[in-house]
Amino acid sequence: MKTRIPPGIPRPLLALLPPLAACFLQWQFWAVIRPSAWLLFYPAVFCSSWIGGPFAGLFATALSTALAWWFFIPPEYGFLKADAESIVSAAVFVGMGILFSHGHARLRQATQQAAESREAAHDANDRLQVAALEAARRALHSAQALPLHSAPLDLFPQPAVATEVAPLTLVVEDNPDMNAILAEALGRRYRVATAFDGQEGLAKALELRPDLIVTDLMMPGMNGDSMLRQLRGHGQLRDTPVVVLTANADEDLRVKLLQEGVQDYVHKPFLVEELLTRADRLLSERKRTRDRFEMLVRSSPNGIVLVDREGRIVLFNAALEKMFGYPRAELLGQTVELLVPERLRERHVQSRREFAAHPEIRAMGARRDLSGRHKDGREIPVEIGLTPVDTEQGPMVLTTIIDITQRKQAENEIRERTTQLEAINKELETFTYSVSHDLKAPLRGIDGYSRLLLEDHAAQLDEEGRKFLANVRQGAQQMGQLIEDLLAYSRMERRAMQRNPVALADLVRAVVGEMDDEIRSRSVELRLEVPPLLAHADPDGLLCVLRNVLGNALKFSRDAKPPLVEIGAREENDTVLIWVKDNGIGFDVKFHERIFEIFQRLQRSEDYPGTGIGLAIVKKAMQRMGGQVWAESTPGEGATFFMRLPGATPPHAESANTAESNGAPP
């Protein structure tokens, strides 16, 4: 029961009010209440004594009695001539009034005593704790004679390579003795910083970034839990483990703090060993995580370096040492520009600043060639990846460096080899050219002189002689054709293929026109069913293909009566299918692969002349144009050669599209 008096209102007044109020109310409702004269005065006195205390209660009793006697006890408005009943009821009332007052007085006393006791208990607790710690300490000292850890030294953490430096703990405790003892206990194993209230604790935590915080909750000024709440708001301190010293009574607070990420509780009074154990556990967990991270960094085959805002090297791994040839000691604390070639150092500092302003994960200089500088001065081609990280010591950049010397070497080798291959290809071209020229010349001679012999010296030759010469000529001609075909094949292999939209119908008509004489002389029935389709092809290549395929169709249907050749085309999805069908001698499909090979012939050359290269040229050409060729046939019933090419959209449709997208009317 809180006896809170609104400020500024004196007690006597309060004592007055309830009785007067009761009197007034009773007067108003006397008709209903009569004859209970004391009815409302009882609660009035109760209130007065409750609010105002015992004396107010007594005064109110007196006042109420007077008021009641005057106003409500018959005869009304007089003090004398009351009957026995009235006097008894008055006496009862006064008695009750006194009882209320007394009762409240005692209640008040009791509450006050309780509060005092609690405070005293708290105080006693603390003192007990101090005593216990002190005792433990003395016991330990006498047992082990450990040197005392002196005041915390250089608290700004050195750049760590491995955590050989002891973790830093922060003790926030307002009781100076307790604070000292905690500091001392923790100081045996760790570095310690101290603070004596929440505000100081917060400031020191932000400045020093401790590995562990041990804090009391009840402190003057800013208490423990608001300090923690504020701490957690800062990114780097979000994960700092916290041990809270709490008294038993703070149950609700404990639950709340658990939710806020307090790692552990130590109840007061506690054993120093308990605190140390918990601190150890938290710190070792933290160390384990850090160790894991360091192990990852250490074992990485790529160089890893952690660089702070000023460009100083904070952390690195063995791979980095090896890559750049610096022993560990020479890298610590150096700026990262040590690893950058001199000519690039200035720009690197600039880039670093720019990156710090807009940090993001990225590969550095994606299209540039990056170099690092080895200790011995030579430059190493590298690839660098940057990741900004938030650490306890502030924002830093985690940099991964990969030595790409080998990759560069491989690239160079490839480039060299490509150049070599290109040179060889050029040589081959020159060779082919020379071959064609040099082979054809003697052939001309052979053919020419044989002919001249036949013409000018026919008289000196007999039948047989003339026949021999005819054979010589034929041989020369065949060889000439062979050379031509070989050259054509080699050209098909080597030359650059264009990829244009080609009007099929036009090409077919052109080829048919070339062979017009032959078609007419053999009375070939030619059927053309070529719709106006477009295909992506090299025009000369496709001409060559059609020439060869149509030539074959005509050749092998020579003996049919009548020879029938059909050329057609149709669109299939995104491709164009062309076919040339004849009713000639056909071939057995088991030779399907062979007929497309070079020099493979299925017929005797005297029956069907040819060099055996035509279809090889066709296949090579189709391949290089991104198409396919195949054939279907039944011996004696002709053959159909199919060619598939990628389709093309008509150019006017394309330009219409672009015109539309450019906003111009189509």
Binding site: S436, H437, L443, R444, G448, Y449, S450, L452
Partner: protein, 164 residues
């Protein structure tokens, strides 16, 4: 039917140039058999203009000096490309770059079908590019056509020896 008289209204093959002397043909050909066959082909067609033969690029260029000295320039130069010492393309270039001789028609007569050769020849100013067939009959046809076209039909250019 001899081709040289096949065209009506044409004088016979021995055409006198405006300057008066009988105009020759210059054949630049290193292969002796090819040269011989060409000459015989011309002979078979009853071609009577003299045919001078240069056996390599240097001999061909020597002719340039002879024209300077006053000898009659040819009606047409038949030029093979694959020549020892100075190449056919080089000869072509020298002729076409010289303002005095650039108007003389040059017919490249070679066995090469190489695209690059064709392009370069035309770029350097060749008037025509003909591939020598292996077949002798065809070869004779080609020779005849060349002769008819360039020696009978074509109006030869006027040569200005003082041009620079």
């Amino acid at each position: 039917m001899t081709l040289s008289t096949a065209l009506p209204g044409m004088p016979d093959a021995t055409r006198a140039p405006p300057c008066g002397a009988i105009a020759p043909i210059l054949l630049v050909e290193d292969n002796p058999m090819d040269a011989d066959l060409t000459l015989r082909a011309f002979a078979k067609r009853k071609f009577t203009n003299p045919v001078h033969v240069a056996r390599d690029g240097e001999e061909a260029l020597a002719w340039l000096r002879r024209w300077e000295a006053g000898e009659p320039t040819p009606l047409v130069i038949l030029l093979d490309l694959k020549l020892p010492r100075v190449s056919g393309l080089e000869v072509l270039r020298r002729i076409k770059e010289d303002n005095r001789w650039c108007n003389i028609p040059v017919v490249v007569l070679t066995s090469s079908t190489d695209d690059l050769d064709v392009r370069t020849a035309y770029r350097l100013g060749a008037n025509s590019y003909i591939v020598k067939p292996v077949d002798f009959d065809k070869f004779m046809d080609v020779a005849a056509q060349i002769e008819v076209y360039w020696c009978a039909l074509n109006q030869p250019p006027c040569i200005d020896r003082s041009a620079t």
